[in-house]
């Protein structure tokens, strides 16, 4: 009985705070994406041929932890299979945040664009049996800064 109450409390806390954190994060992501849109990030490996550019490796990484509510839903989802919707927002936020941080770095270099953008995702929750998913998303690319002819 005590364990049940504890689970209910943890799940509710996870839901309330997780949801608040998520909507706050999304607001900030959407706002910063608009600001950063002047600096395009491209998956293309071929840099533009019109002009001379300095190249620099830029990267942005983010570590994001799960909340109890999400893991609880994911645990239930494990029984039935299907889309793990509760983790989708988690990864979406992490990827977009990583790109934003990469762009931020490129912006301080005065870059015009980032090419050859790639992502790495890794699970860093460790080897414990009852692990809470903690993921790291790392975005990196080549920042191109124009220099005079």
């Amino acid at each position: 009985m005590y364990e049940l109450i504890l689970t209910v409390v943890l799940v509710s806390l996870g839901y309330i705070f997780g949801r608040r954190a998520e909507s706050k994060h999304y607001k900030s992501i959407i706002m910063r994406e608009k600001e950063m849109n002047t600096l395009p990030a491209m998956a293309s490996r071929r840099p533009p041929s019109d002009g001379h550019y300095d190249q620099a490796l830029v990267s942005g990484s983010v570590v994001i932890a799960n909340d109890y509510f999400k893991s609880f839903v994911a645990g239930l989802r494990n029984l039935f299979g299907g889309q793990m919707r509760s983790y989708e927002t988690l990864l979406d936020r992490a990827r977009r945040e990583a790109v934003l941080r990469m762009k931020q770095e490129a912006k301080t270099l005065g870059a015009e664009a980032i090419f050859n953008v790639k992502y790495e995702t890794s699970n860093i929750s460790g080897q414990t049996r009852k692990k809470m998913p903690v993921i790291e998303v790392h975005a990196y690319g080549t920042a191109l800064t124009k220099y005079g002819i």
Binding site: Y15, R19, I30, K34, N37, P40, A41, M42, P48, D50, F69, K70, F72, V73, L76, R77, L79, F80, Q83, R85, S86, E88, T89, L91, D92, A113
Partner: protein
């Protein structure tokens, strides 16, 4: 050439659905599955366990060390008396060959009696003290012997073990001590249908031995009064494994009416040594009682 990142609409990679919707569907689904699974396992386990021959049940019972818990040698006369009644009832109930019921006396205030695997039935001093006559004692013994006859203890143990294995498999727990947890003196939980079956058998035995049902319903009155004394009242019928005491008293009358058995008749008194044996409590050392096991 101009490079641009288009504005990508939201909710392409994520779901628009409210997370609580997903959560409630999954939660209700898993609870329903769990209930169905538990019921199936409990039923299947009980069914499988009922296939275990009684001789094997005795071997399982022998795995538990009885010496510590049972048989107060303080009252040998009483134990012998209980055993002689048990043998008489066993005969009346026509127990199958090889099924031998052993009566045990526990010197403890608990107002209870129970049957467990291997054909052992346990009587607490607390309950024996409250019995007014032999007819009521026979009702009590018949009820417990009927549990043994219908294999209720092994069925209950079987369901219990299968359900705990199921839970262990699901939660990934490594509970290797399944047998050990459910000890010999653990009062096994019998279903309401099992209790009713035993009550009916008790009524039959009472009639077979005395020719009337007088004294039988008093057993349930004792339980009823005890519950009232404790102030607990009767728990809601749905959550109680024993049928309500009133229902059991009524059940007794119903059986009498259907079968045309007399509800009044001469009561047989308890033997003279009965009360004094129950009072002789000055033992050298306190034995381990069921409550502490």
């Amino acid at each position: 050439m101009e490079y641009k990142n288009p504005h990508i609409p939201e909710n392409i990679n994520t779901s628009k659905e409210h997370p609580l919707k997903d959560f409630s569907i999954l939660l209700i689904g898993s609870i329903v599955l769990l209930l169905i699974g538990t019921v199936t396992l409990a039923f299947g386990g009980g069914w499988l366990a009922s296939k275990i021959p009684f001789s094997a049940e005795i071997k399982i019972a022998n795995m538990y060390d009885l010496s510590d818990d049972t048989d107060d040698d303080s009252a040998p006369e009483l134990t012998a008396y209980l055993q002689s009644l048990t043998d008489k009832i066993s005969e009346a109930q026509k127990l199958p060959d090889g099924m031998k019921v052993t009566a045990h006396y526990l010197d403890d205030n608990t107002v209870n009696a129970f049957a467990t695997i291997g054909g052992h039935i346990f009587m607490y001093r607390g309950l024996l003290e409250k019995l007014p006559n032999e007819n009521t004692l026979v009702t009590l013994l018949s009820h417990e012997i009927a549990h043994v006859k219908y294999r209720h203890p092994i069925k209950s143990l079987g369901s219990g073990i299968i359900v705990s294995i199921g839970i262990a498999a699901l939660t990934g727990g490594t509970d290797s001590n399944i047998m050990g947890e459910t000890g010999m003196l653990t009062v096994l939980k019998f279903g309401r249908d099992m209790e009713q079956q035993s009550d009916e058998a008790a009524a039959q035995t009472l009639y077979a031995l005395y020719g009337h049902l007088n004294g039988g319903a008093e057993l349930f009155e004792i339980f009823h009064n005890m519950r009232e004394e404790m102030g607990a009242g009767e728990s809601y019928e749905m959550f109680s494994t024993h049928p309500l005491d009133e229902d059991r008293i009524e059940n007794f009358s119903t059986i009498a009416k259907i079968e045309g058995w007399e509800e009044i008749g001469e009561l047989t008194p308890l033997p003279d040594f009965y009360r004094s044996a129950l009072k002789s409590r000055d033992r050298a050392h306190q034995k381990l009682s069921a409550g502490t096991k």
